[in-house]
Symmetry: C2
Subunit: 202 residues, 2 copies
Amino acid sequence: MVRVEKIEYKPVGARELLIEMKDLSELMIDLAYSATLFNSPELAQEVIEMESHIDTLTYLLSMNVMVAARDGDDAESLVGVTKVARATDKISDAAADMATIVLQGIGIHPVIREAFEKVEERLTRVEVKPESILTEKQLGELGLAAKMGVDVIAIRRNKRWIIDPEENETLQKGDVLIVRGAPQGVEEIEGVAKGTIQKLED
Amino acid sequence: MVRVEKIEYKPVGARELLIEMKDLSELMIDLAYSATLFNSPELAQEVIEMESHIDTLTYLLSMNVMVAARDGDDAESLVGVTKVARATDKISDAAADMATIVLQGIGIHPVIREAFEKVEERLTRVEVKPESILTEKQLGELGLAAKMGVDVIAIRRNKRWIIDPEENETLQKGDVLIVRGAPQGVEEIEGVAKGTIQKLED
């Protein structure tokens, strides 16, 4: 992979970096299987972007660990951190491999679909359009779980992912939402995010 | 790795194999992070065994796909299956890498523990002893979720894993249970499986 963006050192807590890497890698596995199942290039594309983001986090973590290690004892006790990070990176690479199958348009054999069909819930990716009633609303006041049976499991805002967003998170236009739910609810939320549905039914 | 066991071809549906590989790989990620967090060689060992089992499933799948492909069209539409399987295999390798950190006794730096401390639920591995009241009981009649707030997420019986066991699954002596729950419930189930606790409180 050609990397055009130089990753600059900045001091970030290893703790924060590891939490983000763990959450992202778990989400990626979920998205990657779903992308394969539903033959969804949109979900696959999110996985690829997350993979590149995890690469960045891995570099940042390595640099911060180096700066933190003052002597041999530090180094010994920090080497475990880099190993966990490397394993997380490998998990995310594997998820990206799976997503690539979809993006390369390799036909997914019926056998694969069947294997995943017992998954009753669907996963989708929707972008919040300016004209959507979701814009500038808090997740809690929207009550999507009660009204449509869907759950926003992640939000991508520019280059940042918010995993398991809180009730008081305010949605903004341009947000990309990863939503899980029953097939009907998933269809509804797609209309709501696009703005073609302008009212939430109770 | 030295492989002493020869894997013999047997006809198995690719569908069944893929379902098992997907479920196992997801469970492995969960177990691997937990093993790291709680510095648990027991959980780590389960991950290592699952990895070796997934290797076997990958071989079996490859052989079955070869036998299934009669011509070029078949091969084209089956190549996606082997790619998904390879990605699953890579995920399981990464989980094993993480487990190895624990088994090698590399000190886990406080930074890693903190990163996972927000996980309030614990994961544990218990073996059902002959004298345990769990022996020969169905999961449904035990009502562990209601009584102790714990959930049996997987059972290993000899070389077979049962993921997300049904209510009517009967526990047997020697079963290894992977249990998730609040710290207190996890401690209780450890006593119950060992046989030191002989009664379930309502």
